[in-house]
């Protein structure tokens, strides 16, 4: 069987990943904003006895890379280091509704001396805008095959596959540069010092016309000094006749302008496009800001309200499961492990599945329709005041889902200092793993009151403020970092604002299911393991003496009630109280309880009792573990005779060990816990990704230390301030 390799090259947000998914049948993340893909991804398909491996690349505007993600793209197709595995075909993905700018990269790709196929994507959008493109004339002018596709609707994919398995010659350069440039190129190509150091004429042209040193990181190491001198003297000769800076794009666009004029028929129009008018509303100083606030508020209200019926359903399911287990298995370690450990632990986490899915519905929808880029645009002013740009806001927005893709997304940020600053504050955004913690504590402790004339609930408002705390603190930390250890000028904010589209429902659905499934898997692995550990620490050592001591304490009372036949209900009540006291005492004397006693002085200033302290410490590997841990702890030491099995109702009634009438979960405690979770670095995976992206343990350690101490101090301040008021 024949093997060929192709790469997908194109401007950002032209649908490369959609095309990749359509070609190889995978489910790579796609979104409607520039910079969704920040790393190479490879897949394959088979067509008529040929196996084709396809590589999806991050988008780039030019083969002169300007940021780490663009460097990945350029080095994959032209990098000197990739010499041995250069692609055999370059598929240029072109957005038909934006032909001129996309063709600029195509004209560069034609100079790589590799076969090129143009995939003309988004033709439906172009024709909706009234643009008529003569595809045959385009193919003739570029002298390469052009295939019309609609990647998101799987149209034209078969044609493209058939085209890719054909044999055709390498493309050849089309854009001619001024005579002096061509002359110097010829001279350099004849220079042995130069040809020895550089592989193809593509490199000659790129380095000669490159005035800002962008190619330097891609050049082969140890290049010859005389080679560099040859380039420098050639540049000086050109500079005598033309301004070298910008010569390349100006020549290319001149050529493209003539081509587009002959092959594209555009409707004659005055004024902004329809898309432009939509933007006029969405980015208007007043209506734009209002829409931003409404979108965010609706999102948090929905996460809170829509999920309720589903949560009740899941709760009922686990309640039934727990009751069944308890009725089938005799009392003892096994029953406790299943009912108090596994079912209580996992159940209390899985109950938040509806919320996670709804949150991702909104995130996928906002990404798909193109609103994310507008949010970044609106936030640029704020970001600029702390020394960053709106570009940093996109990774921060993705971090609301999860900090890991957020940190990866910073590859689209050009300056290493700005990129590092963004990475270091990204874990402060309230990710979806914090959501269950907020929901649990808000539902248990914050009264369900309507405010602002009834359209906003107090609970929703508290939730919104938790998300805002992350943003505000991130902005402050970024400001400090940019003023101190990562000092540097404010980066520019040149960003393409994508067109509005109805999000692809299949993509939205897939995002919801994959995230939901990931959450369940998490509950089934790490959370289960920690849950079992916490259960074991809370169950052992079993001490039979506790039961005797507690019973002895109540002997007199018991005998009195037993002697009185009318006090049947009081007797039952006492028995229940004794059972609860036994459970409570057992938990306190367990390993977990002993560890809690050690931790307690540390967490007491925050208003927490030892149970909360233990649950928080156990959740440092992954913050959502805390819910499972609390589920186990409060089920094991269940001192209440509450009917409901739900954790929310249990913690509502939890009291202090030494003050049985004082509730643990008051409003200040709930707020201090939520603030702690909002700011603390409780995620091992994030720290590992930080290490990978910064190539040093220094930054993850820094992040862990600053976030954890910040969380502690902020929780302390919150608790004491809230106690004064409430």
């Amino acid at each position: 069987m024949k093997h060929i390799s192709v790469v997908l090259l194109g401007n950002p947000n032209t649908g490369k990943s959609s095309l990749f998914n359509a070609l190889v049948g995978s489910h790579q993340a796609v979104g409607n904003y520039p910079g969704v893909t920040v790393e190479k991804k490879t897949g394959h398909f088979q067509c008529d006895q040929t196996r084709v491996s396809v590589t999806d690349l991050p988008g780039t505007y030019s083969l002169g890379p300007d940021s780490p993600d663009e460097e990945i793209a350029v080095s994959a197709i032209a990098g000197e280091l990739a010499q041995n595995d250069l692609p055999e075909i370059i598929v240029c993905v072109v957005d038909a509704s934006n032909l001129a700018r996309n063709l600029m990269l195509v004209t560069q790709a034609l100079e790589l001396e590799l076969p090129v196929v143009v995939a003309l994507n988004m033709t439906d959008i172009a024709s909706k805008q009234g643009l008529e493109i003569d595809v045959e004339a385009l193919a003739r002018s570029l002298a390469v095959p052009v295939v019309k596709v609609q990647a998101n609707k799987q149209i034209g994919i078969e044609d493209l596959k058939q085209q890719l398995i054909k044999d055709y010659p390498p493309a050849s350069p089309l854009v001619t540069f001024p005579e002096i440039v061509e002359e110097q190129l010829g001279r350099l190509a004849a220079d042995e010092n130069v040809t020895a150091a550089l592989r193809t004429p593509f490199w000659l042209r790129r380095i000669l016309l490159e005035t800002t040193g962008r190619m330097d990181s891609l050049l082969p190491p140890g290049r010859d000094q005389s080679c560099l001198e040859a380039f420098e003297s050639a540049r000086q000769l050109i500079a005598q006749q033309h301004q070298l800076h910008g010569l390349e794009p100006i020549c290319r666009y001149e050529w493209i302008g003539q081509l587009v004029e002959t092959i594209v028929q555009a409707p004659s129009k005055k004024g902004p496009s329809r898309q432009g008018r939509v933007d006029g509303v969405l980015t208007h100083p007043i209506s734009g800001s209002l829409i931003f606030i409404v979108v965010m508020t609706v999102m948090f209200q929905a996460v809170f309200r829509w999920a309720l019926p589903l949560m009740d359903f899941i709760d009922a399911g686990f309640g039934w499961l727990s009751a069944t287990v308890e009725s089938w298995i005799p009392a003892g370690a096994l029953r406790s492990l299943l009912a108090d450990g596994l079912i209580a632990g996992i159940g209390s986490v899985v109950i938040f599945l509806p919320q996670i899915v709804i949150l991702f519905f909104f995130i996928a929808w906002l990404e798909g329709c193109g609103y994310m880029a507008r949010a970044a645009w609106l936030m640029d002013r704020l970001m600029a005041s702390v020394g960053l740009s709106g570009r940093s806001f996109v990774p921060l927005l993705s971090s609301f889902a999860c900090a890991i893709p957020g940190i990866m997304a910073t590859r689209s940020i050009k300056n290493p200092r700005d990129r590092l600053t963004t990475m270091l504050v990204a874990p402060l955004m309230s990710c979806s793993a914090r959501l269950p913690v907020y929901v649990l504590l808000i539902a248990a402790c914050i009264p369900d009151q309507a405010i602002l004339g009834g359209w906003l609930g107090l609970q929703g408002l508290v939730m919104l403020s938790m998300y805002m705390i992350g943003v505000v603190v991130a902005v402050m930390i970024a400001f400090l970092l940019k003023k101190t250890i990562l000092k540097g000028p404010t980066p520019p904010f040149v960003m393409e604002l994508p067109g509005f589209k109805w999000p692809n429902l299949a993509v939205v659905g897939r995002r919801m299911t994959s995230q939901g499934w990931g959450f369940i898997k998490g509950a089934g692995t790490l959370i289960m393991a920690v849950t079992v550990l916490v259960w074991a620490a809370g169950y052992f050592p079993r001490n039979a003496e506790i039961e005797t001591t507690v019973r002895d304490r109540h002997t007199a009372e018991l005998q009195e009630l037993k002697a009185n036949p009318a006090a049947g209900s009081e007797l039952a009540e006492l028995e229940e109280r004794i059972a609860a006291e036994i459970q409570g005492e057992s938990l306190r004397s367990s390993y977990l309880g002993k560890a809690g006693a050690v931790i307690e002085p540390l967490v007491r200033p925050l208003g927490w009792d030892w149970r909360v302290g233990v649950a928080v410490i156990a959740s440092f590997p992954a913050r959502e573990v805390v819910i499972g841990t609390m589920g186990v702890i409060y089920n094991l030491g269940d001192e209440t005779d509450e009917e409901s099995d739900r954790l929310r109702d249990k913690i509502k009634l939890a009291t202090w060990d030494d003050q049985p009438e004082r509730r643990v979960f008051t409003v200040p405690v709930a707020l201090s816990m939520m603030v702690f979770f909002a700011l603390c670095a409780q995620c091992g995976a994030t720290l590992v990704v930080l290490k990978k992206e910064t190539r040093s343990w220094r930054w993850p350690i820094f992040t862990f230390c600053y976030m954890t101490s910040l969380a502690y101090v902020a929780a302390l301040v919150t608790y004491h301030t809230a106690s004064l008021w409430i």
Partner: protein, 73 residues
């Protein structure tokens, strides 16, 4: 200068000043002499501006707009 365009107004690019990577990138994105560019609006509190050219929309800060010189109307 590009900053002088009011909302909805269009102009023709004459030159992008500055010899750095930013001006090169702007030109690579199509902000080359002769191209028509239209202002669509601006973000609140002196935030970035939004422009339309060659069938796409781009965001630029005011300071970046000052580097883009337009032909006299």
């Amino acid at each position: 200068m590009l900053t002088q365009l009011g909302k909805g107004q269009a102009g023709c690019i004459k030159q992008v000043t500055g010899g750095d990577a930013l001006s090169l990138r702007l030109m690579e994105m199509g902000l080359v002499p002769g191209v028509e560019i239209r202002c669509l609006g601006s973000a609140p509190f002196g935030g970035p501006l939004e422009f339309e050219l060659l069938g796409f929309r781009i965001s630029l800060r005011r300071s970046e707009c000052q580097r883009i010189i337009l032909h006299e109307p």
